[in-house]
């Protein structure tokens, strides 16, 4: 009998395990090296894409969700001339779930070469718990952290019509949410999603092969497939056809097909995997596609 009671007690007490934290795969840093980072990255750009040091600004931001009593300090990088944010178009780059800004530096730097070098400003942050940012990542914190960056940009003179939201992988969640809902510091004018996921439930169903409810393992509410329905701004979707992590068919296509706004374009990249779109496509082709979308729509 004691054994049965112990068993039941374990079950009851332990019924709070969820996979939510597995969304985040952050790494801590003691300092940012950006261009001098020698760790693993998806690709490295040559000197043609170099950004002058004077255009690279590393700083901290206070991030605070509406129901939090105090702010958490997060780190940000702005690539561009801060004094020209009043007139520049800025790409808000929301990075993926892995590592930190050093890992994504090459990607952000590449975007800073869209059309011409430093034609657009690029803003990137490390979410809570990533790199040197304090705190612990969570779904709610993702939105608060990106909003902290938007607040900073707004204070520097950025307006809605010059804000372009770009999300990669996990970063597609705050990018889509903020573009879909006009209750953040700025309301983006355009949305670009690279290798987006549809929802946590699709991940569970892809993994299990069954039509299993996502809530059986996760409380994550992230649902780009639904949020995208509210987006009216022009939408650019790019996805590797060989994405071996977030299937182009069950994730990206769902997001793209559910978009009901004014303009959308898709870029299915043959041969590209989850992290290799830029290298498979070629940097200049990638930048042309991104730049044409931003400038034309």
């Amino acid at each position: 009998m004691k054994r049965i009671i112990l068993f039941v007690t374990i079950i009851l007490l332990s019924s709070c395990l969820r996979l939510d934290d597995n969304l985040f795969n952050e790494s801590k840093l003691s300092e940012y090296k950006l261009e001098n980072y020698t760790g693993e990255v998806d690709f490295r750009l040559d000197y043609n894409y170099a950004i002058p040091d004077s255009m690279v600004h590393l700083f901290t931001l206070p991030s605070q969700a509406s129901d939090e009593s105090s702010a958490t300090t997060i780190y940000a990088v702005y690539i561009g001339n801060i004094s020209e944010i009043t007139t520049d178009t800025v790409i808000m780059y929301c990075h993926g779930n892995k590592d930190h800004m050093d890992f994504y530096w090459q990607r952000a730097k590449l975007l800073a070469n869209t059309k011409n070098k430093n034609r657009f400003g690029v803003m990137m942050i490390d979410y809570r718990g990533y790199g040197m940012s304090e705190g612990k990542p969570s779904e709610k914190a993702l939105y608060a952290d990106v909003d902290a960056a938007l607040k900073w940009l707004k204070n520097k003179g950025l307006t809605n019509d010059r804000l372009v939201m770009y999300g990669f992988s996990m970063g597609t969640a705050p990018a889509t949410k903020i573009t879909a809902n006009n209750n953040y510091s700025l309301f983006p004018a355009k949305l670009l999603l690279e290798a987006p996921f549809a929802s946590a439930e699709v991940m569970v169903q892809d993994g299990s092969g069954l039509a299993l409810p996502g809530s059986t393992v996760t409380d994550l509410q992230i649902n780009n497939g639904e949020e995208i329905k509210k987006v009216q701004q022009p939408f650019f979707w790019i996805h590797g056809e060989n994405d071996d992590f977030l299937s182009i068919n069950t994730h990206g296509s769902v997001v793209y097909n559910n978009y009901q706004g004014t303009y959308k374009e898709q870029h299915r990249i043959p041969g590209a995997e989850h992290s290799t779109i830029q290298t498979v496509m070629g940097f200049s082709n990638y930048l042309n596609a991104v730049g044409d979308f931003i400038c034309t729509h």
Binding site: N25, G209, L212, P213, T216, H274
Partner: protein, 220 residues
């Protein structure tokens, strides 16, 4: 994103969380409690490990050819789900020299998280087993069939996989009061394991998964 995501549970694993239950029926009026540990092999960091599913099962010999059983998936319970299996083992044929004994297990799998999240999966296992020696240890092989009843999944996408097949081979060491069981299972070899968040480690490369399970049964 990286492959750590959702690594612990979702997998091809809901339907591969346990080894076969009572391939050979219990004696009439015999009780048995079983605990099994194991699951599909996955890449976790640099190591290959089985997902550590724990299943607890109780069985009762209704007669010498029919055993009823109920299982609780303990790992699933840790995630706040009630995942139960209710089933029976019926022996159809006795062993004749090299011709194996044959049994089958109709099972109902039920997973419940809340009123908006629950599923029922019918399952049918077919087993063949060969007893040998004084202790009546036995080898077995089998086929495990899971059936997905839903025609749609998230975002109204078509549920492609309606019938999920796994095959297993195992051995049971038979004691007077206990059994020890080891089983290897080739899980859903007809399904691709590419383009998902889990790195399955299987000899079939980009198909299905490969599971290893250990079980201990106390008979009383």
């Amino acid at each position: 994103m990286y492959k750590r995501l959702f690594i612990a549970f979702c997998c091809l694993s809901i339907y591969s969380c346990a080894p076969s239950h009572f391939v050979k029926p219990l004696e009439k009026k015999q009780h048995a409690a079983n605990v099994s540990l194991g699951g599909p092999l996955i890449k976790f960091g640099t190591a290959t490990i089985p997902i550590p599913f724990i299943t607890a099962t109780y069985g009762y010999g209704i007669d010498s050819t029919l055993t009823g059983f109920a299982s609780v998936n303990v790992t699933s319970a840790l995630y706040g789900n009630v995942q139960l299996e209710l089933g029976a083992t019926k022996q159809l044929l006795k062993q004749k020299n090299y011709w194996p004994a044959v049994s089958f297990n109709p099972v109902v799998n039920f997973i419940y998280h809340d009123k908006n999240a629950y599923k029922i999966y019918p399952q049918l296992d077919l087993n063949a087993f060969w007893e040998y020696g004084k202790r009546k240890n036995f080898f077995y092989i089998g086929v495990d069939n899971w059936f997905e009843l839903s025609s749609k999944k998230a975002f109204d996408l078509k549920q492609q996989n309606k019938w999920l097949v796994s095959s297993m081979i195992g051995h049971t060491f038979n004691g007077k009061k206990w059994n020890f069981n080891i089983e290897a299972k080739v899980i859903a070899p007809h399904l691709s394991n590419k383009d998902i968040v889990v790195d399955y480690q299987t000899p079939l490369r980009d198909k299905g998964a490969f599971g290893i399970y250990f079980g201990y049964t106390r008979k009383f």
